[in-house]
């Protein structure tokens, strides 16, 4: 009986491996190829037929990436913009989400509906007036300008409302009867209870803002203010002839997120599932 089970198990596995292994290889190969190319001196990148591994591996490209263009500065810019935005989004989404979830009022329902309606409106549709506004404020090419559109996230409000709704009303009523102000209820009770979803939202918001492209593209004018996305996009258009260098730039841009993923795998996957499933 057992050997029958093992054999069937292996055969079934075998079929799946047959399908999945090549796919997995194709999926991972581009990333591997990017890293391999970045380790080759420029002359090697244009060999034909191409060689898989670098004959003379070099870190010169990485050195050049940081020397020619301020990639470190790009990284710090991204960290700052994404970090501040995420903090603001968490704050506004959870506090507003609590209001919508636990304070009964027709007005609030209407306002909530308006917020939700903005989820489906793509940012690109209305970025022109926001751009003009930022310009009038004198915040063009500055951190406040980069951060401004991202201090709120309608999806975040929706997400937190759904999460907080699951908290039993009795708890909150009890706290109210005890004399707690709504602020206290929010700060001391709601937030700790929503810590899991909050961290999921934090990851979601952070990755979203980090990868946003259109807004930093139109807002930044000086190189020092580029985020990593914009920095790399412009870098590759200028140094296109140096393929190893550009590959190193791409690796440097992708690396921080990949590292974060390796370390926080579980949390990120949880974030993906929690935020991805909220709509269903």
């Amino acid at each position: 009986m057992r050997s029958h089970g093992i054999r069937r198990f292996l055969v079934e596995d075998g079929i799946r491996h047959l399908i999945l292994a090549p796919l997995a290889f194709l999926i991972v190969f581009p990333i591997v190829w990017m890293v391999l190319t970045s380790l080759k001196p420029s002359a090697e990148t244009i060999l034909w037929p191409p060689k898989m591994l670098p004959q003379v591996p070099t870190l010169q490209n990485y050195y050049e990436v940081f020397v020619r263009w301020p990639f470190l500065r790009f990284f710090l810019n991204s960290v700052l913009v994404s970090g501040v935005s995420t903090a603001a989004i968490l704050l506004t989404s959870s506090s507003a989400g609590y209001a919508f979830a636990k304070i009964k009022s027709r007005w609030l329902s209407i306002i909530f509906f308006v917020f939700i309606a903005t989820i489906i409106v793509p940012f690109e549709s209305y970025m022109i007036p926001v751009y003009l506004l930022v310009n009038r404020l004198g915040w063009l090419d500055s951190y406040p300008g980069l951060i401004l559109p991202f201090i709120i996230m309608a999806f975040g409000v929706f997400f937190m409302r759904q999460t907080i709704q699951a908290i039993p009303d009795e708890l909150i009523q009890a706290a109210r009867i005890d004399g707690c102000s709504e602020f206290a209820i929010f700060w001391r009770m709601i937030l700790p209870l929503s810590a899991g979803p909050l961290s999921a939202l934090a990851i979601y918001a952070f990755l979203n803002v980090w990868g946003f492209f259109t807004w930093p593209l139109i807002i930044t004018t000086t190189q020092d203010m580029y985020t990593t996305e914009i920095g790399l996009a412009l870098f590759q258009s200028q140094f296109f002839i140096e393929y190893g260098l550009v590959a190193a730039g791409a690796t440097v841009t992708a690396l921080p997120l990949l590292l974060v993923f390796f370390v926080f795998q579980r949390r990120i996957i949880t974030a993906v599932t929690l935020t991805g499933l909220k709509g269903t």
Partner: protein, 316 residues
């Protein structure tokens, strides 16, 4: 002070009191709402609501950044859009992109998820899940840069690999017919892992008893798939379809990277709506015209969402 409104009071008071009880919150709640929602609503107004209306307003004017006079021209921008071959091309390209990327990504993701749902010898399924999710993590620009290199006509690895199958070197991003498909392929590659994760969670939720009952009834693996798995996953499938389509309509970053620079690919074969908007608004400075395009994009996405809500309302 907190004074719960007792049922007797609301019952006694007439319609007026009932109305007032809906308006009037408990004191501290009212303070909280004002303190929190005040600034938040203000933020929404300033950076979401008003800009949306502003865009609509600008779309009705001949609004150019470099001209001082911005006359009202009614729907003329929209009329011009309808006759603009570049915009029509952008609409076509974007729709093609969305219509192909979404089903292919979801189908592939679903297949992989189904295959990885059951455990493997040595817990290998976790390795596979990790590998498939990997492309999702980096952002779009580095991924586009890498693929631009892979697609390179002279030195790209894709041409080399295809050479073994007897395919002559192609200019994947240069050729007008292939360029959009090259970008579609790259986008599918990047997104598969994300939907795989969502589907895996959904698959896990299906009770094992259903499958067991079906097996007892004599259902084959394929029948189990089509009669149980897919119908139960339908709401999630449909939800993801529309979300993915909406994101597909906003595609821009990868097109920008591929077409930017002196060795960039020709722009028109991959011209998408946001790219056309960007060019009209931020290159030719015809912001009124670009705003009209933005409104069209908004309407398309809006309609797609309504479609979603229509189909999604669970009849189950």
């Amino acid at each position: 002070m907190i004074a719960p409104v007792s049922p007797e009071i609301t019952a006694h008071a007439g319609g007026w009191a009932r109305l007032r009880s809906q308006w009037r919150w408990y004191g501290p709640q009212w303070k909280y709402c004002l303190a929190i929602l005040g600034p938040v609503c203000l933020a929404y107004l300033v950076i979401r609501i008003i800009p949306i209306f502003d865009t609509a307003w600008m779309s009705l004017h001949n609004w150019s950044l470099v001209k001082p006079v911005k006359p009202f021209i009614g729907l003329e921008n929209y009329v011009k859009l309808a006759g603009d071959p570049l915009f029509r091309l952008a609409l076509y390209n974007t729709t093609l992109f969305a219509v192909v990327t979404v089903p292919v990504t979801l189908a592939l993701a679903f297949t992989v998820a189904v295959l990885l749902d059951r455990p493997m010898q040595g817990r290998l399924e976790n390795t596979y899940k990790f590998l498939f999710f990997l492309p999702v993590v980096p952002t779009m620009v580095p991924v586009s840069v890498v693929w631009k290199w892979i697609y390179d006509p002279s030195y790209g690895i894709l041409n080399y690999a295809l050479g073994f199958f007897g395919v002559p070197p192609q200019g994947w991003l240069i050729n007008s017919s292939w360029a959009i498909w090259a970008i579609i392929l790259m986008t599918v590659w990047k997104s598969v892992g994300y939907y795989m994760v969502l589907f895996l969670v959904g698959l896990k939720d299906i009770p094992v008893d259903y499958y067991e009952a079906a097996s007892i009834d004599g259902a084959t693996a394929w029948q189990r798939l089509t009669q149980i798995t897919i119908p139960l996953m339908r709401p999630m499938l449909l939800f993801n379809v529309v979300i993915a389509t909406i994101f597909a309509y906003n595609v821009f970053a990868q097109v920008y990277v591929m077409t930017e620079g002196p060795q960039g690919s020709p722009a028109n074969p991959v011209r998408v709506i946001v790219m056309d908007m960007y060019e009209n608004g931020f290159r030719f400075l015809k912001m009124g015209y670009a705003s009209a395009e933005a409104m069209v994009l908004l309407v398309i996405v809006f309609v797609l969402t309504i479609v979603e809500f229509r189909f999604l309302r669970p009849k189950v």
